[in-house]
Amino acid sequence: MIRVILLRLAQTIPLLFLVSLLVFLIAKLMPGDPISNALAGQLSADAIEQIRQVYGLDKSAVTQYFIWLKNLLSGDWGISLTMRTPVAQVLGESFTNTVILTVAAVVLCLVPGVIIGIFCGLSHGTRRDRLVMLVVQIGNNIPVFWLAVFFIWFFSVKLGWFPVSGMYDMRGDRSLGDLLHHLFLPAFSTALISMLILARQVRNSVITIMDTDYIRTYRALGYSNRVLLFRHLGRNLLAPIVGITGLQIGYLLSGVIFIEKIFAWPGVGTQLFNAAAGQDYPTIQTGVMLIAVCFLVVNLVSDILQDWLDPRHSGVLLS
């Protein structure tokens, strides 16, 4: 068990390095240099050069990479070039918000997704199942950004059930209830499509499991679906659910950027977007690293969990 974890870690860490290199290279490819761009009209060439030295822009690319990496690991994440504030401050404030949103989306994705999946899997072949699967298939293809806007229009503007944007009511006292009220629509919009994907996969897994001799025997012996569900399906389902969720977190993170823009959720996605447009590469580098690290960690945890739950990978995995 420990061996598995260590093995996975050993595989992940070089991945992280490579990701960091990729990120750094992309940043370095950007034409021009934000400091010079921003201050060109205001200061003399000497003064600009001085500031560039402060930011370490005068050294070779290789040196800059290693300096950056060293700083990154020791917690010095540099100064944002467009906002002139520490990157840690810029990202830190927003990172928590993105995490909140993503966690909420995962919950909203998992719970209904699994329930619907099991429901359809058990009633496989009936009209109910087919109808739900049709809805799932259509929903799969709906662009999340349109859906989010539609939800805002329908639930916030027309029905007034939810707030239009932001994380908290500015006049309120930032209570948990207020947060949840603001959180629901963005999280739901993010999660909906992944939830449908999860439902479909769970359904397929349920069908396959129900088809195994093992379960067939039990059914022949007269066990009801309910009992089978709780005793055996659950255990067998856990591994693929973990696997799919791990994958979905990737989609969710990508989706989060759209959602943040639409709902004006003050998260990391918006920051990165502005940073990219402004060639603010300290922010981009650190931000992307942060997300990639999270992504890899989540995948790692998911892989480890899967190994633990189903060491033979025998079970009913993704098609």
Binding site: L15, I26, N141, P143, V149, F273, I291, N299
Partner: protein, 278 residues
């Protein structure tokens, strides 16, 4: 002979047929866009800004700049088809090559390829697009590169896995015993067996890629105004939805859904027909 049977079976599979028909319609409309589209997609009609669907002469209404929605959807379909189909085909071919090479024989080279795929897999693609847009600017190049980078890891893994399992099969051993060269085995026997599932996956994947592409355009990373582009149109229409003109965002969204569904149905049909065992 096989092709004919295949086509017959395809026609009988209803959803796949529907998908194929939608797709053919979309392609047809796109090719004939200059003739079929009622108006110039860039032309603005005085006083008809934001007019709803059903306005005389404008079936789907007009947008924020007073341009005809139907024409823009037809022309937008053209750009989304080109921007999705061609890069994905290229990516599929690339994945085929990489997957075959990596799966054929376990070597340092194949390890390298698969690890690289893992990295790309680990990367939220939207971020890649955002980063690329800072370097290359927004436009076709950013979007196409991102698309290729999103598709290749997934398809390479599929090809790799299939190659590995094919290699393990008895007939390959038999061929080797008979003295067949590696090249022969790879290209004559394995490739056809691997290409079929690849085709199925690619077709289904195209659906997701159409939506992804639209998403990138929505964020402003795709082609720049005033060209018609479905994703961008949804983005521009998003504001107008709240201000009372939902058709501007919804018409292109419906088009995106239909196109994506058609790819999915076609892919499902292909899967059922070509690979009923799976």
């Amino acid at each position: 002979m096989r092709l004919l049977t295949f086509l017959c079976r395809l026609v009988r599979h209803k959803l796949a047929l529907a998908g194929l028909l939608i797709l053919l319609t979309a392609v047809g409309l796109s090719l004939l866009a200059p003739i079929i589209a009622p108006y110039d997609p860039l032309q603005s009609f005085d006083g008809l800004r934001l007019a709803p669907p059903g306005t005389p002469g404008h079936l789907l209404g007009l947008d924020n700049q007073g341009r005809d929605m139907l024409s823009r959807i037809i022309w937008g379909g053209r750009s989304i088809l080109i921007a999705s189909i061609l890069p994905v085909i290229f990516a599929a071919l690339l994945s085929l090559a990489l997957g075959l090479l990596a799966g054929f024989r376990a070597s340092a080279f194949s390890e390298l390829i698969m690890r690289t795929m893992d990295i790309l897999f680990a990367f939220p693609m939207v971020l890649l697009a955002i980063g690329l847009s800072a370097v290359l600017g927004s436009g076709y190049s950013t979007v196409i590169i991102t698309l290729i980078c999103s598709v290749v890891p997934y398809l390479t893994r599929v090809v790799y896995r299939d190659t590995r399992s094919e290699i393990a099969k008895d007939y390959v051993e038999a061929l080797r015993a008979q003295g067949a060269s590696n090249g022969d085995i790879l290209f004559r026997e394995i490739l056809p067996n691997v290409a079929t599932p690849l085709l199925v996956y690619t077709t289904s994947l195209l659906g997701g890629m159409v939506v992804f592409l639209a998403g990138l355009s929505f964020l402003g990373l795709g082609i720049q105004p005033p060209e018609a582009d479905w994703g961008r149109m949804v983005g521009e229409g998003a504001q107008m939805m709240i201000l009372g003109a939902p058709h501007i965002a919804t018409a292109p969204a419906v088009a995106i859904v239909l196109l994506s569904l058609s790819f999915n149905w076609l892919g499902d049909g292909l899967r059922d027909l070509l690979d009923p065992n799976r």
